[in-house]
C-alpha cells in the first residue's frame, strides 16, 4: 500500500494495511477434543499487596447508566465488594482518596491483536493470520499470543483491563480467540479463567483478496459463501454422527472425531461465541442467511461500518456490533461509514461496542474511540458502555465484568477528569483488584521490560 508515513511508521502502516485488508477470527478454547488449557488462578498471577482497596469519594460512572457522585468503591480480592457512602475500610486495606476523580470499569476491548501482532512490527511478529487455507477454525490465538508484547503495558496504561485476542481476517474462518486480562507475565497468567469459547470469521473483501489473488477459492463472495457452507456441512455431518454415537443409535466404530472440525461442531452445538469481521449490508445478510441455514448464533459483527443502515436486522437477530468511531474509507467496504453510526445503532437498541482492532487503533488510545463517538452524538454514558459493559456482553462476559457492580471483577480505572476528552489517560488502573498502573508505576511494563530496567516508565532508554 502506498503510504505517506515512512520507516517504522510505514512498518506499522503495513501491518495495519494487512489487518484492514484482511481481518480474522478469535479463539478461546480448545482444539479438537482436547481439554481446554487451564488458566492460572488469579492468586498466582497477581502479587496482591493489600487484601482490599477502598477508593474514597469519586464520581462513579458505573456503566450501568448510573453516575454516582461522591461514592466509595471497595475492592476486595478480585471482586468489587461494596459500593456506597462512607464505607468502612477492612483491616489492612489500601485507602485512596479519589475525590474529584471519575472511576469507571476497566475497558473491554473485544477486537484486539495484542500479542499476536506484537510490537515492533516485523516478519518475526506476524502471527495473527494463518493464511495457508481459507478455513482454519482449528488454529488458536493462544498458540501465538506473546505476553511480552510491549503494547500490552501501554494498553493497560490506557485503561484496558480485558481483551479478546482475535486472529486476523485473512481467512473465512480464522481461528479461535483468546480472552486475556492485561496483567501477567505469561500466557497462562493472562488467560481469563473460565472464559467462554470464541471464534473469528471474516466476510467480505479480505479473504477473497488473499485467496483470489492466488487464483484459489474464494475469489468472489459466491466462493466465500460456498467455502463457509462446505465446512459447515462437514461439521454438521460430524455432529450428527457424534450424536448418533452418543445416544447409541449408530456406533460403527470409535466416536467420530475430526480435530480440524471440532470448533465448528462446538459452534453448531451452541458452545462458541462467534465474532465475525463483516462490513457491508449484503455481507451481513449472507452471514445471517448461513447462520439460519445451519442454526447457529452470531454473537457480534466487527468493524461493521455499514451496520448503521440495517440496525433492525441486527437487533432482530440478536447480533451485537463492534465498530470504530470514525475510521473509514480505506477500502470499498469501509467507504460508506458514518460518524453517526454509533448513535444510530445505540438509539435502535443494538448492543453497541467500540474496539481498537489494535494495532489498527493503538490499544493505548481505546478510550479516544469513545470520546469521538460521544463527540458525534453518542450520549456520554452510552459511550462509556460501548467500551465496557456492551463489549463484555457481546463476548459472553457480561455477568463477570464490564460494570461497577458488587460481585463484578475488580477491574477499575481512575481518571483525573472526564475520560471522554482528548488525551485522557487514567491515573490508576486495577486488574482483578491489583493496582497495575498508579503512583508512577506500571507493573506490566516492569514485567515486559525485563531486569535492570526502570519499572516506572512504559518506555525507557
Amino acid at each position: 500500500m502506498p503510504t505517506i508515513s515512512r520507516s517504522y511508521a510505514a512498518q506499522i502502516a503495513t501491518v495495519l494495511a494487512a489487518l484492514l485488508v484482511a481481518c480474522g477470527a478469535p479463539i478461546v478454547s480448545l482444539p479438537g477434543g482436547a481439554p481446554p488449557p487451564t488458566a492460572q488462578p488469579d492468586a498466582v498471577r497477581a502479587p496482591r499487596l493489600h487484601p482490599a482497596t477502598l477508593l474514597r469519594g469519586a464520581t462513579l460512572w458505573t456503566a450501568t447508566g448510573e453516575v454516582l457522585d461522591a461514592t466509595d468503591l471497595l475492592l476486595r480480592d478480585n471482586r468489587i465488594a461494596a459500593i456506597g457512602k462512607d464505607l468502612a475500610a477492612p483491616s489492612g486495606a489500601l485507602i485512596l482518596d479519589v475525590r474529584g476523580k471519575i472511576v469507571t470499569p476497566g475497558l473491554v476491548d473485544m477486537h484486539s491483536h495484542l500479542g499476536v501482532y506484537p510490537m515492533p512490527p516485523g516478519k518475526a511478529h506476524a502471527d495473527g493470520n494463518e493464511m495457508t487455507q481459507p478455513t482454519t477454525p482449528m488454529v488458536r490465538a493462544i498458540d501465538a499470543f506473546d505476553p511480552e508484547d510491549p503494547a500490552i503495558a501501554r494498553a493497560v496504561a490506557g485503561g484496558v483491563t480485558t481483551a479478546l485476542i482475535l486472529p486476523g481476517s485473512g481467512n473465512v474462518m480464522g481461528g479461535q480467540a483468546l480472552y486475556v486480562k492485561l496483567h501477567g507475565r505469561t500466557v497462562g497468567e493472562m488467560q481469563l479463567p473460565g472464559a467462554p469459547r470464541a471464534m473469528k470469521w471474516a466476510m467480505g473483501e479480505n479473504p477473497k483478496r488473499v485467496y483470489g489473488g492466488r487464483g484459489t477459492m474464494p475469489m468472489s463472495r459466491m466462493g466465500h459463501g460456498w467455502v463457509m457452507r462446505k465446512a459447515l456441512f462437514e461439521a454438521r455431518e460430524l455432529l450428527a454422527q457424534q450424536r448418533a454415537w452418543d445416544d447409541g443409535s449408530a456406533r460403527p466404530g470409535p466416536r467420530p472425531q475430526k480435530p480440524e472440525l471440532e470448533p465448528l461442531v462446538a459452534l453448531l452445538s451452541g458452545q462458541v461465541s462467534l465474532q465475525v469481521h463483516c462490513y457491508e449490508v449484503h455481507d451481513i445478510e449472507t452471514l445471517v442467511r448461513v447462520a439460519r441455514e445451519f442454526g447457529f448464533q452470531v454473537a457480534a459483527i466487527h468493524h461493521a461500518l455499514e451496520a448503521w443502515k440495517v440496525p433492525e436486522l441486527l437487533k432482530d437477530n440478536g447480533i451485537a456490533v463492534a465498530t470504530f468511531a470514525d475510521l473509514w474509507g480505506f477500502k470499498l467496504e469501509a467507504w460508506d461509514a458514518s460518524v453517526h453510526a454509533p448513535r444510530i445503532l445505540h438509539e435502535a437498541g443494538v448492543v453497541l461496542a467500540l474496539k481498537t482492532d489494535h494495532p489498527v487503533i493503538d490499544a493505548h488510545e481505546f478510550i479516544f474511540e469513545a470520546a469521538k463517538a460521544h463527540h458525534h452524538g453518542l450520549p456520554e454514558q452510552a459511550a462509556l458502555q460501548a467500551v465496557t459493559r456492551n463489549p463484555a456482553r457481546a463476548i459472553g462476559l457480561g455477568d463477570r465484568l464490564g460494570t461497577l457492580e458488587v460481585g463484578k471483577a475488580a477491574d477499575v480505572a481512575v481518571w483525573p477528569g472526564s475520560p471522554l476528552r482528548v488525551g485522557a489517560v487514567p491515573e490508576r488502573v486495577f486488574v482483578d483488584g491489583v493496582q497495575v498502573v498508579g503512583d508512577g508505576r506500571n507493573l506490566q511494563a516492569q514485567w515486559s521490560a525485563g531486569p535492570g530496567t526502570d519499572a516506572r516508565g512504559v518506555c525507557c532508554d
Binding site: 500500500m1 502506498p2 505517506i4 508515513s5 515512512r6 520507516s7 517504522y8 511508521a9 510505514a10 512498518q11 506499522i12 494495511a17 484492514l20 485488508v21 510490537m119 515492533p120 512490527p121 510491549p150 503494547a151 473483501e205 483478496r209 470514525d326 475510521l327 473509514w328 474509507g329 480505506f330 477500502k331 470499498l332 467507504w335 461509514a337 458514518s338 460518524v339 453517526h340 494495532p359 493503538d362 488510545e365 470520546a371 469521538k372 460521544h374 463527540h375 458525534h376 471522554l420 476528552r421 482528548v422 488525551g423 485522557a424 512504559v458 518506555c459 532508554d461
Partner: protein, 431 residues
C-alpha cells in the same frame, strides 16, 4: 448559541457531499459575518480578539477583523451570532496527508498512484494528480481543514514537487493556493526504486542525493553568472540542463524552492544537515515525519530547519520511534525549532485539531503554539509563510475560517462553521 439571518448555502453543501460529490460552489459568495466569538487572527503582533468580528465580503475576501465597534456589519450580510466560548480560527492546514490523491486506499483505480520506478522524480508535480471531486476532501473541510499540502506519492528517493490547495472548489485550479511548494525527498528503509539497487541503503541515498544536488548547483551557479572555462565546460553544462531530473533541482540550489526531507531517525536527520553543509549552499530545508527529531533538536534549531511532525501520536516501539515520548514536541519547541503538526492520515485528517489537543494535553505545547502548528506553522516551516496568508485571518485575503463552539482542541468542541475560499458552510455535517 447561534442565530442566523439571511440565506445560507448549507443545503447545497449537504446535498453535494451526500452524493459523494464536490460541493456545488456558487459562483458568487454571500457576504457574511461571524460575530461574538474569540477571533484568533494569528498575525504577527495581533492578539486574540474577544467578542470579535470577522466580516467577509461578497467577493469572499476578509473585509474586516476586529471588535464589534471596529467592524460594523452591512445589512446584506448573513450574520452568525456566536457565543463567547466560540473560537474563530484560520482554517487548519494539513501537511502530510494523501487527501485529493487517494479516494479508496485498496482500490487502485481511485488513486493518483505512486510514481516510483526511478530514484529521481524531481520533475513530477503533485498538482497533476489532484482530484477535488472527493468525499475525503469534503470530510477534511467539514473538520475545519481548509488547506492541504500534497506531495507525489511513492517511495522514490526524490519524490517530486508538492502543491498546496484548498479543500473546496470544483477543480484543483479553483482550489489552488501554491505550486510548486517544495521539493520532497524520502530517506530511510522504505526508499526502494528499480533503477539503482544501492539506493536501498541510507548511505546510497545520501550519496545519490549529493551527486544530483551538486549537478544542480553547477547549473544554478551558471544561471547566476558563473561562466564555464571552455567549450567542454559549456557542453557539460548543456548536458545537465537537458536532464529534466537535474534541471528540476536547480530552484532548490538557487534557494527558490525549499527542500523537504521525509525522515524519522535522528541519524538520518543529521545526515541531511551534513549534506547541506557539504554542499555549501544554505537552501531552505525542512524535515517531515521526525519521530526522533527531538533527539537532535539543538542541531535542527542551529541549522534553522523546522519539522512537520506527523503522526503526532507515535508508537514508541520500533527502531525509528523507540525514543519517542509525549514530551518530544516540547523538546523541539523549547529548542526553538519551528513546528507544524500533521495527522499523516488521509481519511481522518479531519481530526487534525485533536492532534494539537494531544500535544496540549501532554504538556508538550502551549495552546497557542499548538494552534500555530496546525495553521501558520506549515508555512513557517517550509518558508511560504512570507509569501502567503495561508493559516491566518488577514484582511484582503480569501476567507479560510473555522468556528468551533467550545474548546477547539478537544472533542467537547464542535465545528459549527467553516469558510473555504470565501464561501461559508454553516453547520457542516460529517457523513
Amino acid at each position: 448559541m447561534t442565530s442566523t439571518k439571511g440565506v445560507t448555502t448549507a443545503c447545497v453543501f449537504a446535498l453535494g457531499s451526500g452524493l459523494g460529490l464536490a460541493p456545488a460552489w456558487a459562483d458568487g459568495a454571500q457576504p457574511f459575518a461571524w460575530v461574538g466569538g474569540t477571533v484568533h487572527p494569528l498575525l504577527v503582533g495581533v492578539a486574540p480578539i474577544p467578542d470579535g468580528v470577522v466580516l467577509v465580503d461578497g467577493a469572499g475576501k476578509v473585509a474586516c477583523v476586529g471588535t464589534r465597534a471596529a467592524c460594523p456589519v452591512p445589512t446584506d450580510a448573513t450574520v452568525r451570532e456566536l457565543g463567547p466560548k466560540t473560537a474563530v480560527l484560520p482554517g487548519f492546514v494539513e501537511g502530510l496527508s494523501r487527501i485529493g490523491q487517494i479516494e479508496i486506499d485498496a482500490e487502485d483505480n481511485t488513486h493518483d498512484g505512486a510514481a516510483q520506478r526511478e530514484s529521481n522524480l524531481a520533475p513530477v508535480q503533485a498538482i497533476d494528480g489532484i482530484g477535488l471531486n472527493s468525499r475525503v476532501v469534503d470530510a477534511a473541510r467539514k473538520g475545519g481543514v481548509t488547506a492541504v499540502l500534497a506531495r507525489p506519492l511513492g517511495s522514490s528517493l526524490i519524490a517530486g514537487q508538492s502543491v498546496l490547495f484548498r479543500t473546496c472548489g470544483a477543480t484543483v485550479d479553483a482550489a489552488l493556493l501554491r505550486t510548486p511548494v517544495a521539493l520532497h525527498v524520502n530517506l530511510g528503509e522504505e526508499v526502494r526504486t528499480a533503477d539503482l539497487a544501492w539506493v536501498g541503503a541510507r548511505s546510497g541515498q545520501i550519496a545519490l542525493l549529493r551527486t544530483l544536488l551538486e549537478r544542480a548547483r553547477r547549473l544554478a551557479e551558471a544561471d547566476a553568472g558563473k561562466k564555464p572555462k571552455d567549450a567542454a565546460g559549456l557542453e557539460s553544462l548543456q548536458r545537465l540542463r537537458d536532464d529534466p531530473g537535474v534541471a528540476a533541482l536547480v530552484p532548490v540550489m538557487a534557494g527558490k524552492l525549499p527542500l523537504v526531507v521525509h525522515a524519522q531517525r535522528a541519524d538520518d536527520i543529521l545526515a541531511v544537515l551534513r549534506l547541506r553543509d557539504g554542499l555549501g549552499v544554505r537552501f531552505p530545508l525542512a524535515i517531515a515525519g521526525g519521530a526522533e527529531a527531538h533527539v537532535v533538536a539543538a542541531a535542527l534549531a542551529k541549522a534553522e530547519v523546522g519539522v512537520i511532525v506527523g503522526p503526532v501520536r507515535q508508537r514508541p516501539y520500533g527502531p525509528a520511534a523507540r525514543r519517542w515520548t509525549e514530551g518530544a514536541l516540547g523538546d523541539l519547541a523549547r529548542a526553538g525549532v519551528k513546528l507544524a503538526l500533521a495527522t499523516a492520515d488521509t481519511y481522518n485528517a479531519r481530526n487534525l485539531r485533536w492532534e494539537a489537543g494531544f500535544a496540549i494535553r501532554w504538556g508538550a505545547l502551549t495552546a497557542d503554539a499548538a494552534l500555530r502548528a496546525i495553521t501558520v506553522g506549515l508555512g513557517e516551516v517550509i518558508g511560504f509563510a512570507k509569501l502567503s496568508t495561508v493559516g491566518t485571518i488577514a484582511v484582503g485575503a480569501p476567507a479560510d475560517l473555522v468556528a468551533i463552539d467550545g474548546d477547539w482542541a478537544d472533542t467537547s468542541g464542535h465545528v459549527v462553521g467553516v469558510a473555504c475560499g470565501g464561501r461559508e458552510e454553516w453547520a457542516p455535517k460529517q457523513r
